[in-house]
Amino acid sequence: MIENLKALPQNLRDSVVRYTLHPTSDRERSQATFHNLFLHLQSVRVHRNTLRVAYSFGLGLITTASFVLLTLTGILLMVYYKPSTELAYGSVKDIHFVVPAGRFIRNIHRWAAHLMVVAVFLHMARVFYTGSYKKPREFNWLVGLALLVLTLGLSFTGYLLPWDQLAYWAITIGANIANSPREVTDALHITKFLDVGGFQKQLLLGANYVGQEALIRFYVLHVAALPILMAMLMGVHFWRVRKDGGLSRDETAPRDPNDVFSPTKTYGLMAVVRGRTPAVGRGPEGTVQSWPHLLWAEMAVFMFTVAVTLALSYFFDAPLKEMADPAIPENPAKAPWYFLGLQELVSYSAFMGGVGIPTIALIGLGLIPYLDRDPRGVGKWFGGPEGKRIFWLSTVFGLISVVALLALTVNCGWLRNWIPSIPQPVITLINPGTVIVLLYAAWSLWILRRTASLRLSAVALFTCFLAGFVVLTSMGSIFRGPNWQFYWWPSQWPVH
């Protein structure tokens, strides 16, 4: 009894730690990784390429770290936040003014959300340009797309919660974008039978206006439904990264004949993980132990994310405008910045900009790995020098065409300014949004004809869309003022 009590600390520790915390040999290091719930998501050895900053820029990890930060700060904010139209604004003001560390934590939540959106976009671009969506990683690309949509959804639902003017009018616009299929059904005179827009809007708001019903729906989506879905999909995403062979790398390079990866020898049991299995007793060339090298990388990226978020949060407060007032619209009423590209398109046609083009873009992105089956070029940025050239050309083309189109509309208007009686369906079909999509598609087809390479034409299309997204987003964020007029800078906005 006494002896057992004496041994209690040691036994307690042993019962918690399944293996050692101080591995000294490679075997022990492998075991330490394998015997830990969190670490066993990783393989025990990783390729050196995985650790190369310039290959992945740690973007997936930054996204994950932001999500962790968001979850933690989000739970803390829930302690004080009251999801009611009468109390929400006051409770956020209280968090801002008197809750200990409240202002800082709310700032972190805000900035981590921005960071996560940026990182998830860049992560997708990285995966695309290194060809990492190719077999066997097609499905994980789809999971990634779903995670992108969820990230935007989480950001969007969080936007309403402070119940200030910014929130109220951004969500009013968002909800009316959901309503915009009416533009088409009205034109076809079938709204009475098939009211997709009205259905979507009511599903989102629970009413015809943004009110208490909408607030509680957005709250439930923001703090429960979407985060749970997100966490589950993230689990799938990580698991597939691991099972699909880790981070992609160039596997076409000539191999050392003495490599421990023998092409003939496989162990059935270990074949559950894709990739060739190593010969017994030798460390494979080009790989290092996950413990500690991958751990260092992960900790560094995590802490880097935290440091950046905290620095931003220290200097820039999250915005909180006047309390929501349905009688006074914000002018300009702007959605969150990552939707401002869409809002720019929405200013031409609500349906095309808000529903049509995003759907086309998502379907296009989802199809990429199933259309481009060429296994070459995986693990190399742009798949090689030819891809890089196409990337730059497409960047220039994408930028010039969208800027020119916007300059045209800003200076000369669009169809309705020229032919005032033009019917709405024509504008829905022919507007700067669809024109730019067609221009990009044409460019990409031209590249396909010139190079006969689906991969290169995909690079062209993706790059064009990225350029268009950047330009349209800056247009909506910076260059649009009251009444959605063009201004060179917000300081030129008239007081209204």
């Binding site: 915390l21 101080h22 803390l76 302690v79 008197v98 200990p100 560390a101 409240g102």
Partner: protein, 151 residues
């Protein structure tokens, strides 16, 4: 940890500073749930002109959760919150205070005479506010028998 060999000062410093940062963050996070200022009205109650309370009167103040007494020797206030588990005690001139929840009994001075209450009812500090109103501080206890004389 993590192969921190004898000469890996860099690794040790990195891990150490990371732990320090996370520890500080944790401290900040733990501060958040404890409110810096409690919601609800102030616990210092201004009860108005002392002259409005007649000598010999007992007033039950519901919102303030106290009984205010005025006798020849001055004012005193006794909390109406039972020291057992926080129910509101009833008062009768002769028998003192009785708690309806678990049967605690207190005499007219608030001393325990029966039931599970661990201590007597609190006597609260009575004073005159700078602007001349009678003021009871719900946060400050005084010793039993303390009276406050106006003037």
């Amino acid at each position: 940890m993590f192969d921190a060999g004898r000469r890996d000062f860099l690794g040790l410093a990195a891990i150490g500073s990371a732990l320090a940062a996370l520890g500080t963050a944790l401290a900040g996070v733990l501060r958040l749930p404890k409110p810096a200022v409690l919601p609800g009205p102030m616990r210092v109650y201004k009860l108005g002109d002392p002259a409005q309370f007649a000598v010999g009167s007992v007033v039950k103040m519901d919102a303030e959760q106290l009984y205010l007494f005025r006798d020849e020797r001055g004012f005193h206030a006794i909390s109406s919150v039972c020291t057992h588990l926080g129910c509101i005690v009833a008062h009768s001139e002769r028998e003192g205070f009785a708690c309806p929840c678990h049967g605690s009994k207190f005499d007219t001075q608030g001393k325990v005479t029966g039931g599970p209450a661990p201590t007597g009812l609190a006597w609260l500090e009575v004073s005159l506010s700078p602007d001349g109103q009678l003021q009871v501080n719900g946060e400050t206890e005084v010793s039993r028998g303390t009276r406050f004389q106006v003037g």
